[in-house]
């Protein structure tokens, strides 16, 4: 019997066999590795922004359900890369500045405005992230806690720009400004599951 395959001596020593998964040549393999070669699972998941509800399109009037501005009607501008929605009152109309809001905390009404002429491309999540809090040092306990946050001139100018861009758009629709100024509220007898927003 001739020695073939694994235990064949080559150059005076047995050839060390390593478990290597060879690409298939179409034929069934002559050699099966003694231990299974572990292949890492393919990473197919791609994390994109949250899927936007079909009822929410740029220019839709949304009702905020929670947070400081609950009950206010705001205009949806665009979805940010994090998935949050960029909305604004506009500030001049109802006091809601450009803000991020989560889709789940918003009711989309059927009222829509055309905001294609409003340029919001420069706003993304980093614009809204608050300044990093200073790490607590020994003195900080004795420092004054009340330091009023100053709004940067840039921030105010941006808000003004958006407001003035939206103003003529809102003026086109009758009563829209008054509508945006008004709060949404449930009243006695209201049944949200039957309401058409």
């Amino acid at each position: 019997m001739t020695r073939t395959g694994v235990w064949k001596k080559e150059g005076g020593a047995f050839k060390k066999v390593l478990a290597v998964a060879k690409p298939s040549k179409g034929k069934s393999p002559r050699f099966y590795a003694p231990e299974d070669v572990k292949k890492p699972l393919a990473k197919k998941a791609t994390n994109g922004p949250t899927k936007l509800r079909a009822s929410i399109t740029p220019g839709t009037v949304l009702i905020l359900l929670a947070g400081h501005f609950k009950g206010k009607r705001v205009i949806f501008l665009k979805q940010l890369p994090s998935g949050l929605l960029l909305v604004t009152g506009p500030y001049a109309v109802n006091g809601v500045p450009m803000r991020r809001v989560n889709q789940a905390y918003v009711i989309a009404t059927e009222t829509k405005v055309d905001v294609s002429s409003v340029n919001v491309s420069k706003y993304d999540d980093s614009y809204f992230k608050g300044a990093k809090k200073e790490k607590k040092s020994g003195d900080s306990m004795f420092k004054d806690e009340a330091t009023k946050k100053e709004l940067s001139a840039d921030y105010l100018a941006n808000q003004k720009a958006i407001d003035s861009a939206l103003k003529p758009i809102i003026a086109k629709t009758k009563d829209l400004e008054a509508y945006l100024k008004a709060h949404f509220s449930l009243k006695d007898g209201d049944r949200p599951h039957l309401m058409k927003f």
Binding site: R53, G71, Q103, A104, Y105, F184, K187, D190, H193
Partner: protein, 144 residues
């Protein structure tokens, strides 16, 4: 019989409303500058725990949502957050400072029966004094 004048009636009503306003602002209902009240929740009543004839299971409470009268009307409320708001004697930390108002949060899980009653689970099982009490069924997470 004494007939109150319109003016004094209005005065009385305003006074009574003012007291209501004070309580409600403490409970975080919004009162706008115009004095209008903003309610962004549906009123619900905690009617029971899930139970059989002899044993109550406190994990799940049954909520009767105002205006919901059949099982077909309930899917809108599935997943909606519920707040059981109650008052206690001592003040505890709150988002706007120490307050006597406390809250247990929960959510609507599924329908219960065919008449529009709904099952809800709270972070902590509701205390027995909640039976018959009001709760607030929020409109979020919203699917609309």
């Amino acid at each position: 019989a004494l007939k109150k004048s319109e003016a004094s009636k209005a005065e009385g009503k305003r006074k009574r409303n003012a007291i209501v306003v004070k309580l409600e602002t403490a409970a975080n209902t919004i009162i706008t500058m115009a004095g209008e009240k903003i309610r962004l929740y549906v009123k619900g009543k905690i009617i029971n725990y899930t139970r059989n004839k002899n044993v109550t299971r406190h994990k799940t409470s049954l909520i009767e949502i105002e205006g919901v009268n059949s099982k077909e009307e309930t899917p809108f409320y599935f997943g909606k957050k519920i707040a059981y708001v109650y008052k206690a004697h001592t003040k505890k930390a709150g988002p706007n400072g120490p307050t006597k108002f406390r809250c247990i949060w929960g959510k609507v899980t599924r329908a219960h029966g065919s008449r529009g009653v709904v099952r809800a689970q709270f972070r902590k099982p509701l205390p027995c004094k909640s039976l018959g009490a009001k709760c607030r069924v929020m409109l979020y997470p919203s699917q609309v």
